[in-house]
């Protein structure tokens, strides 16, 4: 069973449906006991970093995610959920993340040409940087759907794929059993579902 962590940020209906489409049992839950007993854990998120980080703290679910990651359970952050895995973010201030992966989150405006639109919205190609079990069923150059104004920086060791948007931007990361996707696999058609399928083959219940 895969637990999708519900800490009051965003709408998790589509994400849950995407697991249904690959035949995987996924529950949306804010119950620490359910998250601890899950075979793998998804940390979703949309919106502002500070607000989400505060909610993870207030609900205590940030500590639960850290504990299951430390115990070896596969964890995947999606979009803002990926950004929350890092040490800190510079989105309207400086905010602490979960610190599961070394690096920080910075505005894409810092590195892309001024003529490009922010956020990056749309389909862009993955450029593989390292092998990862997440890529078992997809290919270098496959397209996925992005919506973001910030990106993970100073994390070269963890980057498994980037995308070109005037500059190479971090698209996916992995550090051991902790994974992150800046794009939305649940909105990236067959390629996105193939990434989720590969993730669901990790963990004890696989």
């Amino acid at each position: 069973m895969t637990a999708i962590v519900d800490y009051g940020v965003g709408n998790l209906f589509s994400l849950q449906c995407s697991f249904g489409a690959i035949g995987e049992d996924a529950v949306v839950t804010g119950d620490p006991a359910v998250i601890r007993s899950a075979d793998r854990v998804i940390l979703p998120g949309v919106g502002a970093f500070a607000d989400a980080a505060q909610k993870l703290k207030d609900t205590g679910l940030g500590d639960v995610v850290k504990a299951v990651a430390a115990a070896g359970t596969p964890v995947m952050g999606i979009c803002l959920g990926m950004q929350l895995l890092f040490e800190k973010s510079y989105e309207f201030g400086v905010w602490d993340g979960l610190g599961l992966i070394a690096g920080d989150v910075r505005p894409i405006a810092d590195v892309i040409p001024a003529a490009l639109k922010i956020p990056q919205i749309g389909w862009n190609a993955l450029q593989f940087k390292q092998d990862s079990p997440l890529f078992k069923y997809i290919h270098d150059g496959d397209f996925v759907y992005f919506v973001h104004s910030y990106y993970a920086a100073n994390c070269a060791d963890a980057v498994i794929a980037d995308c070109e948007y005037g500059a190479p931007l971090t698209a996916a990361v992995q550090q051991g059993n902790v994974f992150g996707c800046q794009f939305h696999p649940e909105k990236s058609g067959d390629v996105g579902l193939a990434i989720l399928r590969a993730f669901c083959e990790l963990g004890v219940g696989a």
Partner: protein, 252 residues
Amino acid sequence: MITKRIIPCLDVRNGRVVKGVNFEGLADVSSPVALAEFYSSCGADELVFYDITASAEGRSLFADILTETAKKVFIPLTVGGGINTVADFDRVLKCGADKVSVNSGAIRNPSLIDEAAKRYGSQCVVLSADVKRVDGVFRVYAKGGRENTGMEAIEWIRSGVERGAGEIVLNSIDTDGVKGGFDLEMLRAVCDVVSVPVIASGGAGKIEDFITLFQTLPKVDAGLAASIFHFGEVAIADLKREMKRNNIPVRL
């Protein structure tokens, strides 16, 4: 490199897809869930559902269709039609919509854009504008293109982005249904004043119209159409292959 998006639009009334010609004389086309699955499999980059139902019964039918679509289609879904309050945003987002498009509701109450952007983020708020030339001036029309609001369109769109709209759908009433190509002049005027993605709507009749759109106006991010896709006049797979042949970045 970010790709140009091709977006089929499905007008839904009482659970069925319909498409008007210049917003009049609607004709039944097909099942929205089946059509959405078909388009997704053909390479559509995104889908738009417009709810043109007036009754509460139709609205609940629309919610069922959204939910069913979200279970089967895994590309971004924008929902519009009858969005007047933040509660309406909530209603369709819960059924699986990713973005919500506002039109007449924002004209009546422009602060709807601010409130929704604050609550759900700008990436969730699409400002859709129906625009027509009146005595040489671009004017905003409300109520599905039937009512001239008297507002100047370019300033309305610019102010909508300032309030927090994260994307613009520009539908030219002058070219809609004519199939003679997109309204490049009107689109250029909008692209000049906004920095968010602009989606062109109204006027596509053939593949070349999309090629001309993206080659003439590189700042346009996406092309939206309905009947030419619904009636098979343009196949999305053919369109995207032709875009690639013309060196337009595209997802294949």
